[in-house]
Symmetry: C2
Subunit: 140 residues, 2 copies
DNA sequence: ATAATTGCAAATTTTTTGCAGGTTC
DNA sequence: GAACCTGCAAAAAATTTGCAATTAT
């Protein structure tokens, strides 16, 4: 369990029970879309409304507490803001894994941007494929 | 103008006027979301319905004629399927530019995947920042 | 000829909004 | 106590669907 109250305050947001529940749900799930967050959140706080989930996701993305991970063909997932990383997204089970972004990748992308005089702010690298678990399941 | 009729047939789809209009609109726009496609398409074929745009985007993505480009905070854009590339996405004007994916990038991502025994199928690399035009506009 | 596709309208799903009451700082 | 936040219900926006008429092969 982390100190979500402090995190919120650092970003100028009030530390409500609802927000902390949402953050802790996302933290436990790793990556989750609105529905998954809502379901999870209702387990511990059944009266928390879907509208509140929506409003807070918008607010917390704006304030940089959360990051949207848009995924082809699916609803966007959300994760806690953390160090830069890339995503391995399993097209079978939908799981999302974080992987460190090595310096080569960072430099290469920076070069591509520079060549076009593009002021790079953020990278979003999603690798789609089949995770090891699903590969084993398929093999059987 | 390309041979969209042939492209469609190669993918087992009938070459209707509607589909060819949609493809040629996307081709002209480069990258466009559903609304942008619909607007463009109506210029030359005002009776083409929005439902038809939706149905065909689904179908043509399934058949590999189109590719969805999901974008954080915006509606997905669609592009014609082409050689692998990355996207420079301007957060000011929303423009999307294609850039060749150099071999370093391809290899590096492949390595990351291999380390996790992840069977990589597709890469989606989006670089968010400010394009040169918008930088100049800002400077003034 | 037939199987696929279109356009319309309706249904569904997803997201946003207004506002009265409640909570945090 | 002031500003912010929540939950509800309603509204708006986005997407999907069913079906009769039409079209491509």
């Amino acid at each position: 369990m982390e100190n979500f109250a402090q995190l919120l305050k650092e970003h100028g947001l009030k530390a409500t029970f609802q927000r902390m529940t949402i953050l802790s749900s996302i933290h436990e799930l790793g990556h989750a879309n609105v529905d998954e967050i809502y379901e999870k959140v209702r387990l511990s706080h059944p009266t928390l409304s879907l509208a509140t989930v929506y409003k807070n996701i918008v607010t917390m993305v704006e304030e940089g507490v959360l990051v949207e991970v848009p995924i082809a063909g699916k609803k966007s997932k959300y994760e806690l803001k953390k160090n830069e990383h890339l995503h391995l997204i399993c097209v079978e089970c939908g799981s999302v894994m974080d992987k460190e972004l090595d310096s080569h990748l960072a430099e290469d992308t920076q070069k591509v941007a520079q060549r076009s005089s593009f002021a790079l702010k953020e990278r979003q690298m999603n690798l789609y494929g089949v995770c090891d678990k699903c590969q084993m399941a398929e093999a059987s």
